[in-house]
Symmetry: D3
Subunit: 131 residues, 6 copies
């Protein structure tokens, strides 16, 4: 169903296998998911995206689980079905509780509501926010 072939571990080139190994080890999973198998068609992009993910998504000033919640928020707003599924699973795996999940959805839907109100009435930004 993808527009490209899904490259399985066994058929991957050595450089792709190296990235797959790093993902599997970092995430403690037996196999990489379809996202990485699709990206494997272009090893440079695969490498660059995986490096970005490692650099951005670990614990930092914001903890890793909260970062997954933010990721879910963007993916819902952008309507990316694949990403909503995978990052929701990731957030739960990193410790998101049912209560947190429900609050997350409540915040996201409230935000879309007020986004629409602001756009609908073309509300001018208050001076104080324009420094």
């Amino acid at each position: 169903m993808a527009t490209v072939k899904l490259i399985q571990y066994e058929e991957a080139t050595p450089s792709v296998k190296a990235v797959f190994d790093d993902i599997k080890m970092t995430r403690n999973v037996p196999d990489v998911n379809n996202f990485w198998k699709s990206l494997a068609n272009h090893p440079e992009t695969l490498q660059r995206v995986w490096n970005n993910v490692k650099e951005v998504m670990g614990d930092g000033a914001i903890d890793s689980m909260t970062k997954e919640m933010i990721y879910i928020a963007v993916s819902i707003a952008n309507n990316c079905s694949y990403c909503v599924h995978t990052h929701t699973a990731a957030a739960f795996k990193k410790g998101m509780s049912d209560a947190q999940y429900q609050e997350l959805l409540a915040v996201i839907t409230l935000a879309s509501t007020t986004n629409n109100i602001a756009t609908g009435m073309q509300i001018p930004t208050d001076e104080q926010f324009l420094k």
Copy 2:
């Protein structure tokens, strides 16, 4: 510039003034911002939205500042200029640090990138995520 009149506190009906007072007291501000002044044209909606905001945005299983960060994420993805300005200010006011802000933006932009990749290659969701 709005499609409706901005209702100032002095010209508001008593029921609208009551909501304005509640906002000012809850947020510890001298005046409500343009969003509420625009909504004031329809007192029922004003009341309902403010109630939703109070119900959803306070500290809960997710703390209030993190909720603002999620709000920023949705507003950026939805491209709502007004909301990006106001909620960025709110997040800083609730204690978001510059480091957290930068990490927030990094997560948001990474999410949009991978959203696009998933959509671009029409990547099928892995079985394990479809329960």
Copy 3:
């Protein structure tokens, strides 16, 4: 501020003037707005879009004012500032009342909310809707 020059009536070619005249007469206005002045840089597109507008936006199985309300809804969801302004004005000019306007905004914001919920939880479409 546009990426193209706004072509004023006086400087327009005869074929563009003809379209401008048709717009002014159909809408009973003294001048066309910036949208048409921008499109005038490409007379074929100007002609095609104006023809589409005339064909689609008049009274039909759906009346013209309701069509403007639908137009506002799409423009808000697509976040087109220019279109929100112009079509809100058009809807009021065609008889939309304040009560209808408020209900329109309420429906739009509710729709965005439930769109988000459906996407957020990746709700599968019920069999009955898939015929």
Copy 4:
């Protein structure tokens, strides 16, 4: 396929059953659809959204069928597959004719076209619309 369990009527808590009963009675259907079964995981949100729907979607200054058409418009622009299916069915059920449906789609697609043109050429909003 949803990220949450679909709660069937038989397994629902009494408060959720009460909301389900209200939906079934109001809509004259034998069972609620997947949207409500998903929301049932969070009874407060279920209650709040159902209340909003009842409050906003009935006949008012805008009739209920027209409100469904507006809902379809937003759902298409927001690309919500679930909502497009369910609200298209609802609109037909409330009396939308094939001719109205086709005109609705024509208006929606024309709106997206002109939204793009306005954004593409960054057309400045005319003074008259900025009051």
Copy 5:
């Protein structure tokens, strides 16, 4: 699964058959795809859209294959699954190489990233771009 019936060639009216014949001949295919079968429910729209496609998508100042790449870009950003599939196939059929496809996806994802950065930080457009 569509909200309308897919009209097959055999059951089409003469005017619809004429458009189907034109599509099949222009594209050198044995049957039209589901997009046209769905549009066939409204012959005027079918005719207008096909005319637009013929007028816009052929070789011009921009060659036809590059136009398909642009089409893919818009369809990804707009998250249209159907269009991503069909136009990706069309681009390959018109000669897009794997290297071009990968570069196309790289540009699209980079664009979404910087779109988000600009929106996230509400970056003001430099004077030089506002003429």
Copy 6:
């Protein structure tokens, strides 16, 4: 108006100045634009984004000017005002003609139209495109 300070060349740290110098030299401009001045608040992101831009946007299997046209397409669909302005200017600077620009806009608007039609009628992807 940005949510961050715009860092001017004179006040930049040495590492940021180094990136600014590279941008100015690569693009043959006397000063970097506001996008880079905003990103300069986070030197790691500045460096990473600039590296991505250099890597992705030069002549390759797709020439650099065509890449700018694709960038415009995504930025319009994503409604990023800043990016539409800057990349339209960049495309013209790299040799895009008025005729190409008009065709670009025509393709983009046609794509949005058909995206909407496909979403509106929930058209199922033909088997042949699902391999």
